[in-house]
């Protein structure tokens, strides 16, 4: 790559080094994206869309913008996204078509799932399988290298979205179109509710008079296309919506489709959007991008010979970095979606205060863990097929979840390790006690510390454990005592789980398993010494992550009561905090870098 004497060409006010060309990609933290966002936002909210069809114009604009966003990185990738969209949209149309027999509906779902997975497996796992199992001589004469198939950005995310769509529609068609009832479409008369009196519903009601299939087949191709166009737009928009297109959250159809509608500037929750954007960009640009400078040494052979303290610092630094990078991206995606009037599901819920691996997976990458639960774990039988089958399901699901992250055996080992931990926790009866049940909104969890304490107090006092939503009477001193002891035990468990999770993150940073073993060997040597730069970097930029999680722990104890009594002061304080975060984004961002989860 070293070109020796440069040829001295220049651009604007500073010169380009001809070893590396400028790449204007569409990362959220680039000027290019800022311009793109501004143009899209202004067009979305301020162009004079016709009132009756405002929603379709807006969806169309966002879909086109999303395709531009995706194509900016690599234009030909749009073909894959479009093909995936078309397959999922077509199958969706077939599934909601009245009179489709159940067997046929099953076949369509199976086809869609296999098509989605086929694309994913081809682009993502061919190189792994070929490189591992097939001798080079078998395929070397084919003229192309099977181990170098390019990986389209975000393919794992939009593939899972597509599967979620067709399965949701198969289970409950009303998730896609509220005109359709959830009665048995296949094989019987489909009673279509004429909500809103749309032309589509009226026409299809006529079809549902007992002559579905023949009536449907007798429609002209153009009228068929017209009837399915709004649904196609919805599906195209759902799959391509740019805030979550390339790195999640994995949005499920039943979480998103019902939100599609005409939006105005009043639909924008400015406070929520701005706060999420600020927090997201802070985690990404200030925390993750700066920590990357320290964790860059956590590669072979750079970590060889390093003192034990430096190795541990880099490990913790990587844990903070991967959280800040991914959670930051998710928050930015949520904030961006808010700007257009849409709400994306929460993806992270303070994962490093987890007291068990089970709890960790309810707080980390929530959209993936819930997807795996809904579309893989439960269909496999979940915990309804006996104890051994439950453990097997857990390990298998996590193994596949690990493999989803990357086409390398180290990811599979990572997933398998998490699966084994989940199974072991179930075996030894480890309870998830940090999260209260009773969530009304999907993906939102509130820590009800009082309830947890009251229930523990009841058990220790020998009282009957109350039902989920009832507390019991305990004295204030008992409550205080249990709170303190529980807090100490909780902190110890949190520390343990954090270290376990961090060790497993090594498999992400060191895909070669023998490098992981070498790292552990280097750590065991307990070499003396340190590195002021790495220490400063990890402490300074890791502290926000630590404080963020401590705030989650302490919030029920001190912040919530304070906020209840002094809401205005609390608001000003929080505004001050966000103002400080924005200030640091402007003056203390790290070197620009991609998002870690883009590689998945």
């Amino acid at each position: 790559m070293d070109s020796g004497i440069p040829d001295g060409y220049c651009f604007l006010a500073f010169r380009r080094i001809n070893e590396v060309s400028i790449s204007f990609d569409m990362l959220f933290n680039t000027w290019t994206f800022l311009v793109f966002l501004a143009v899209t936002f202004v067009a979305y909210h301020f162009l004079p869309w016709p009132g009756r069809h405002r929603v379709w114009w807006q969806i169309g604009l966002l879909t086109v913008a999303s395709y531009v966003f995706y194509a900016w990185h690599t234009p030909w990738l749009v073909i894959i996204l479009a093909a995936s969209t078309w397959i999922n949209a077509y199958v969706t149309l077939r599934l909601v078509r009245p009179g489709t027999p159940p067997e046929e509906r099953k076949k369509w779902v199976a086809f869609a799932i296999m098509a989605n997975l086929g694309v994913l497996i081809f682009f993502k796992y061919t190189s792994l399988v070929v490189g591992t199992f097939l001798p080079h001589s078998w395929w070397s004469h084919w003229g192309f290298d099977l181990t170098q198939i390019p990986l389209p950005v975000g393919i794992s995310f939009f593939t899972f979205q597509g599967i979620s769509l067709v399965v949701d529609v198969y289970r409950k068609p009303s998730v896609v179109l509220e005109q359709y009832s959830d009665s048995d479409i296949g094989g019987g008369i489909c009673q279509i509710k004429d909500k809103g009196g749309t032309e589509e519903a009226r026409r299809l009601n006529g079809v549902a008079g007992g002559m579905h299939n023949r009536a449907a087949d007798s429609q002209s191709p153009i009228s068929k296309l017209q009837s399915s166009t709004p649904l196609f737009f919805k599906v195209a928009f759902f799959k391509a919506f740019f805030p979550q297109l390339v790195a999640g959250p994995i949005v499920k159809a039943h979480e998103f489709m019902h939100q599609i509608g005409a939006k105005t500037l009043a639909s924008v929750e400015w406070d929520d959007a701005v706060k999420k954007l600020i927090l997201g960009f802070f985690l990404k640009m200030v925390v993750a991008d700066n920590l990357r400078e320290a964790t860059a040494w956590l590669h072979y052979p750079e970590f060889v010979g390093k003192p034990a303290s430096v190795l541990i610092l880099m490990l913790y630094g990587f844990s903070f970095q991967i959280f800040a990078d991914f959670a930051g991206y998710s928050l930015i995606a949520m904030g961006l979606a808010r700007l257009f009037g849409y709400e994306l599901p929460m993806n992270f819920n303070f994962p490093y205060i987890s007291q068990s691996i089970t709890e960790f997976w309810r707080r980390w990458h929530i959209s993936l863990s819930t997807w795996l639960r809904e579309y893989l774990y439960i269909p496999l039988g979940g915990n309804r097929k006996g104890v051994l089958r439950t453990y097997a399901n857990l390990i298998l699901v996590m193994l596949l979840g690990g493999l989803w992250h990357g086409a390398a055996w180290s990811f599979m080992i990572w997933g398998c390790a998490h699966g084994v931990c989940l199974a072991a926790e179930r075996l030894f009866g480890v309870k998830v006690e940090g999260i209260a049940v009773g969530t009304k909104r999907l993906g939102r969890c509130e820590v009800d510390y009082d309830e947890v304490v009251a229930r523990r107090a009841a058990r220790l006092c020998g009282s009957e454990v109350p039902s989920k939503y009832e507390g019991i009477k305990v004295t204030d001193s008992q409550r205080q005592h249990f709170r303190i002891s529980n807090f100490i035990i909780s902190v110890a468990r949190i520390f343990l789980i954090f270290n376990l999770v961090s060790l497993l993150w090594l498999l992400f940073q060191l895909p070669n398993f023998k490098d992981v073993l070498l790292y552990l060997h280097e750590l065991s040597l307990l070499r003396q010494g340190g590195s002021p730069q790495i220490l400063f970097t990890v402490v300074f930029f890791g502290m926000p992550v630590i404080l963020y999680h401590f705030w989650a722990l302490l919030r029920p104890l001190c912040w919530d009561p304070f906020k209840a009594k002094n809401s205005d002061v609390a608001t000003y304080l929080m505004n001050g905090v966000y103002g400080m975060l924005l200030f640091l984004i402007i003056v203390n961002s790290g070197g620009s870098g991609s998002f870690l989860y883009f590689q998945f």
Binding site: D2, P6, F536, G590
Partner: protein
């Protein structure tokens, strides 16, 4: 349509608070007169040096190029000796990359001091990271808005203060120097011809070139190869260690490789003396001597 109240009052408040913080910080930096030369990361340290070189209000007519080893010979130490020499010793990088950067800049210095310790090093990934950053609009904007310049980062400011304090109180490491054994028939390093061409190109542009080997605990290139390069290129070679008491064995290093501040200052003093003796300093490089002796300011 029903008019809804604006739900972004808090967002406006946040922006206002941010502006107040920015103004306060800018005033604080101006009043303190902080001269930040280091950062917690190699990349940011490099960007500080490059930013100063490309956008300084007082252009430097001399440049030292090298790696982090030469990077310890701070430009302030040269100013203390009456010379305006910028330091482009980039952490994690190598002299050839810095020379590339020099030659694509709009100004060509009168004298280039090349660190011989790492002149034959291969291209590193750090070079790509530096290139990406200096090509970004943010780097340019730092010249228009001082708060966006690399040396205004709060973490860099804090790290510089802590580092200066540590160097004032720290002991460092003594490393005993052992002469590298040269092969009887040394093979030329891979980048030898490239280095040679670069030096000849500089000379053809009228730049005065000096090769220097900086005392370093561990990383010193094969001396024979460096001598051969100096001979072939027709440039003087100054082995600073040869002009230090006890061949520099009393020098202290923060990590066994990089000079501590006080000793780096002595090394610069010795280097400048040699340059004056050999009459290698163009007059454009000379300035009035600075009174500052505090590495943190």
């Amino acid at each position: 349509m029903r008019k809804q109240s604006f739900n972004g009052k808090n967002a406006l408040g946040i922006v206002l608070i941010t502006m107040v913080l920015l103004i306060s910080y800018a005033v604080m930096l101006k009043l303190s007169g902080m001269n930040v030369r280091n950062s917690e990361s190699n990349l940011q340290s490099n960007l500080i040096r490059l930013h100063r070189y490309f956008f300084s209000s007082v252009p430097s007519q001399g440049v030292l190029v090298g790696s982090s080893i030469g990077g310890r010979l701070d430009s302030q130490y040269f100013r203390d000796q009456g010379l305006n020499i910028a330091n482009l010793g980039l952490d994690g990088s190598r002299p050839l990359y810095s020379l590339n950067l020099l030659l694509t800049g709009s100004k060509i210095p009168k004298i280039v001091i090349i660190e011989g310790n790492t002149i034959f090093w291969e291209y590193t990934g750090n070079d790509a990271a530096i290139t990406k950053e200096i090509n970004s609009p943010t780097f340019q904007m730092g010249s228009w808005f001082p708060l966006l310049s690399p040396d205004a980062r709060p973490s860099s400011v804090l790290f510089s203060i802590l580092k200066a304090r540590k160097e004032r109180h720290g002991d460092g490491m003594l490393v005993e120097y052992h002469e590298m054994e040269s092969d009887q028939e040394p093979s030329l390093p891979k980048n030898f011809s490239q280095s040679l061409e670069m030096i000849r190109h500089l000379k053809a542009m009228g730049v005065s070139v000096v090769l220097v080997t900086v005392p370093s605990g561990t990383k010193e290139s094969d001396p024979a190869a460096v001598e051969c390069l100096a001979r072939e290129a027709g440039v003087p070679l100054i082995k600073i260690r040869d002009h230090l008491p006890d061949r520099g064995n009393g020098l202290r290093y923060s990590d066994g490789m990089h000079l501590m501040g006080a000793d780096a200052r002595e090394v610069v003093k010795t280097l400048v003396q040699r340059l004056r003796i050999l009459d290698l300093i163009p007059k454009e490089v000379c300035i009035g001597r600075s009174n500052s002796t505090n590495p943190g300011n």
